[in-house]
């Protein structure tokens, strides 16, 4: 298959749907499904009879972002972007006739209207999510018709592996899984390893509480991730890939399986892809859902069939990964960025974002915020814009208190620092991290000591138990936080807590333990008074 064949395939799909002028898109990603999207889909599908609604078709799509208003239905011209669609919120199956009438007549219906002029839609820049909410995640041809697999075919037939890596390096893309390691550098390291067997892994473990970016990407646009992985494999010289995904994501797994099957049938996965010498096979590996299995060495141990425990690095996976072979491991969102980079060029990508953090970032907004859901904004967007404009602020007239970023490895940012531009480095100066993109907003009613206790409890129960400081240290720290919350602790307990933060951070084997104290340290940094208030009064 070459670029022309691909065009032909896309044309065929367009012909098939030539009669369609208007799409009625129903979000069937997990969040909307859980608020009842499937009955809506069914009602719309049965109600949309060809004679009466000529030119309309009902299509299931992935996440449109505003999950809290789901189920969402969008009426749009064929393949039109999200902000040019007419979006309806909180749709029930009984609303189907009205929606169909509106689609047929083109007159918007006021009752469920969700304005796309609102900053939530208008202020985003969708690159990773460009197809999300537009393409049918189960349709291979639909993806191709939107330009899918063009980048891969182009890379395989017209670029050398070194050129692909150079493009990724130029783009300045950094890993979206939390660490922010330069992707191009990682790729070229693995590419340089002299070995006949190499692997690529897609890390879709996503264990941070409050995060659902990777899940949504896989549910909404799975081919995009496969395309990125295939280009990575080509660039580094691998012929085998694994997607490690937690079993708690059944819908994402199902859609990924479908995507792999269809890509295989089309010859985009398998032998002699695009009539080149490049062979690439992808397998799914289900994780049982342990946070530590997102750590790369633990993840590889799990794929190999062992206990999901980290091991000391070096050697890094680039040198000795799966079964001792050089292995490239990247996050879902990282791979989802590759197709546009190859398509538009690394320079284009490097023009977006900030000096040291390029491109966009997908965030999952959760907690005390009006618009919970998924957003994608350029790196460097001020935190205040994200929370007040895009997120719509705090519900119930309450005051903002803090936003937690980076999950159990991150920390809290108070009101005073809300004007900071969000990128890898700026968040670090505040004692937190961007992490994989979870943002949990808290209003004035939340207790920061309890927030710290929540994350410590998470780390305590998710510790794999291999190394002592993380295993026993998080348990002790949780005990101390619990006593502080309950008003049973004294000043020496707080001192011990701070001391343990330092020891656990400095001595733990892997990132889980090394970062577990961060939520405590950051809440102590900005909300120390809350800790002090709960301490027992002690005689001098």
């Amino acid at each position: 298959m070459n670029v022309d064949d691909l065009e032909e395939l896309a044309d065929k799909h367009r012909e098939e749907y030539a009669a369609v002028k208007t799409e009625i898109r129903v979000c069937t990603a997990a969040s909307c499904q859980s608020s009842g999207a499937l009955p809506v889909l069914e009602a719309l599908t049965t109600g949309c009879d060809a004679s009466d609604h000529a030119g309309c078709c009902v299509k299931q799509v992935g996440c449109m972002g505003l999950c809290s208003a789901g189920p969402l239905v969008a009426i749009a011209a064929k393949d039109a972007p999200l902000d040019q669609a007419q979006i309806y919120r909180d749709v029930a199956a009984t609303d189907a006739p009205e929606i169909l009438t509106s689609a047929k007549t083109g007159t918007p219906m006021e009752r469920l209207h969700c304005p796309t002029e609102m900053p939530f839609f208008a202020r985003q820049q969708r690159i990773v999510l460009e197809n999300s909410g537009i393409v049918d995640p189960n349709s291979f041809k639909g993806y191709v018709a939107l330009g899918g697999y063009h980048a891969m075919v182009h890379a395989l037939t017209e670029m050398t592996p070194a050129e692909v890596i150079a493009e990724v390096t130029t783009s300045g893309l950094r890993g979206r899984g939390g660490g922010g390691y330069p992707t191009g550098l990682k790729w070229s390291t693995v590419a340089k390893m002299p070995a006949t067997q190499k692997y690529v892994i897609c890390n879709a473990d996503e264990g941070d509480p409050g995060a659902f970016m990777d899940r949504a990407i896989l549910e909404s646009d799975p081919h995009r991730v496969l395309e990125g992985m295939a280009m990575a494999a080509y660039a580094i010289g691998a012929n085998k890939g694994f997607v490690y995904i937690r079993a708690e994501y059944p819908l994402a797994v199902e859609r990924l399986k479908t995507a792999i099957r269809k890509a295989k049938r089309a010859g985009f996965i398998g032998h002699h892809i695009c009539e080149t010498e490049f062979n690439f096979d992808i397998e799914i590996r289900l994780g049982a859902g342990a946070f530590v299995c997102g750590e790369e060495t633990a993840l590889m141990a799990s794929i190999e069939g062992g206990r999901g425990q980290p091991r000391p690095r070096p050697p890094y996976p680039a040198e000795s990964g799966l079964w001792g072979h050089p292995t490239l491991i990247n996050n879902v969102e990282t791979y989802a960025n590759i197709a546009p980079i190859v398509r538009e060029g690394g320079d284009w990508f490097a023009g977006i974002g900030t000096e040291r953090s390029k491109g966009t970032k997908v965030f999952a907004l959760a907690g005390a915020i009006c618009n919970t859901g998924l957003i994608e904004v350029p790196m460097g967007t001020p935190l205040r814009d994200i929370i007040e404009a895009i997120g719509g602020g705090i519900p119930g007239g309450k005051a903002f208190k803090a936003v937690q970023t980076g999950g159990p490895s991150g920390g809290c940012i108070p009101e005073a620092h809300l004007d900071i531009p969000v990128d890898y480095d700026s968040l670090k100066t505040l004692g937190t991290i961007m992490g994989s993109g979870g943002m949990i907003v808290m209003d004035e009613t939340s207790s920061m000591v309890e927030v710290a206790r929540f994350f410590m409890e998470f780390c305590m129960s998710e510790s794999c138990g291999k190394c002592i400081p993380c295993r026993a240290g998080t348990a002790q720290m949780h005990g101390l936080l619990d006593r502080i919350v309950k008003g049973e602790a004294g000043r020496q307990d707080l001192a011990l807590l701070e001391e343990l933060c330092e020891v656990v951070q400095a001595t733990s084997l892997c990132g889980l333990g090394q970062t577990a104290p961060n939520p405590v340290l950051s809440t102590l940094r900005y909300f120390r008074a809350e800790y002090e208030q709960r301490l027992l009064e002690q005689a001098a």
């Binding site: 000391p312 138990g465 291999k466 400081p469």
Partner: protein, 243 residues
């Protein structure tokens, strides 16, 4: 004049440990070099002859020019490396780690079979732990005495996994494993069945000999009696390796 012996591909590097100039083979780890040169580095999970775990973190050392710490057992030497094994910071961390271990399970040495011959007890003395600042967590575990010769007392286990590794890597039985997460981790025999019912255990006793604490002991030993002998391990390991 005799010909020079053929050069092996492994090179020799020079390094400094606590200011002392040393030479080492480049495929050695820091702990191996320190042991050869009688430089004490506390450790619990490392045992010459077993695979490296890197779990106890007691062997952490400082490398000059690097802010993070490195585990001596899992870090290879390098030319010009300068190692500090005993800074105040390291001593403090080691003490805290040992305290964490004591508080995690129930270590009442006075009634323990290993009293006086226990590596954890020795470590505590070596690190200057004379009291534990954190609350003991007193977890409840059953003692498994079903094996006719040995006994496992989980309340003394430090989860160093030496038993797991020796049984798998040296004896080849793989009777032991670890189940659970975090502090709830527990060593198990076969599929968490009583040791006495194990169909894989050969009763060789290797696990008991390598266990650093009173967690694995011989039946019938009383307080202060359980002396362990690990001298077989490096010899066996090397022989296995040669084959």
């Amino acid at each position: 004049m005799p010909l020079p012996t053929p050069q092996s591909s492994v090179r020799v590097v020079t390094m400094k440990v606590d200011g002392l100039d040393l030479s080492a083979r480049e495929d050695e780890t820091i702990i191996e070099v320190c042991r050869e040169n009688q430089i004490p580095i506390p450790s619990l999970c490392y045992l010459d002859g077993l695979s490296i775990l890197g779990g106890c973190r007691l062997c952490l050392v400082e490398l000059e020019g690097q802010s993070r710490l490195f585990a001596a057992c899992s870090t290879r030497v390098a030319e010009g490396m300068r190692v500090v094994t005993n800074s105040e910071r390291l001593q403090h961390y080691r003490r805290t780690i040992v305290e964490l271990l004591f508080a995690e399970r129930n270590h009442v040495c006075s009634v323990c079979v290993s009293n006086g011959h226990c590596e954890l007890q020795n470590l505590a003395q070596g690190c200057g732990v004379n009291h534990v600042r954190m609350p003991y967590r007193y977890p409840h575990y059953e003692v498994d005495s079903s094996h006719e010769m040995f006994r496992v007392d989980h309340t003394r286990c430090v989860l160093c996994s030496r038993c797991v590794r020796v049984c798998d890597e040296i004896e080849g039985a793989h009777t032991w494993d670890i189940m659970g997460r975090g502090s709830d981790c527990q060593v198990i025999t076969d599929l968490a069945r009583p040791w006495g019912d194990s169909s894989t255990c050969t009763s060789c006793g290797k696990c008991v000999q390598v266990c650093p604490t009173g967690a694995l002991v011989k039946q019938g030993t009383s307080a202060g009696e359980m002396v362990k002998d690990q001298s077989f391990l490096p010899i066996l390991a090397r022989r296995r390796h040669q084959r």
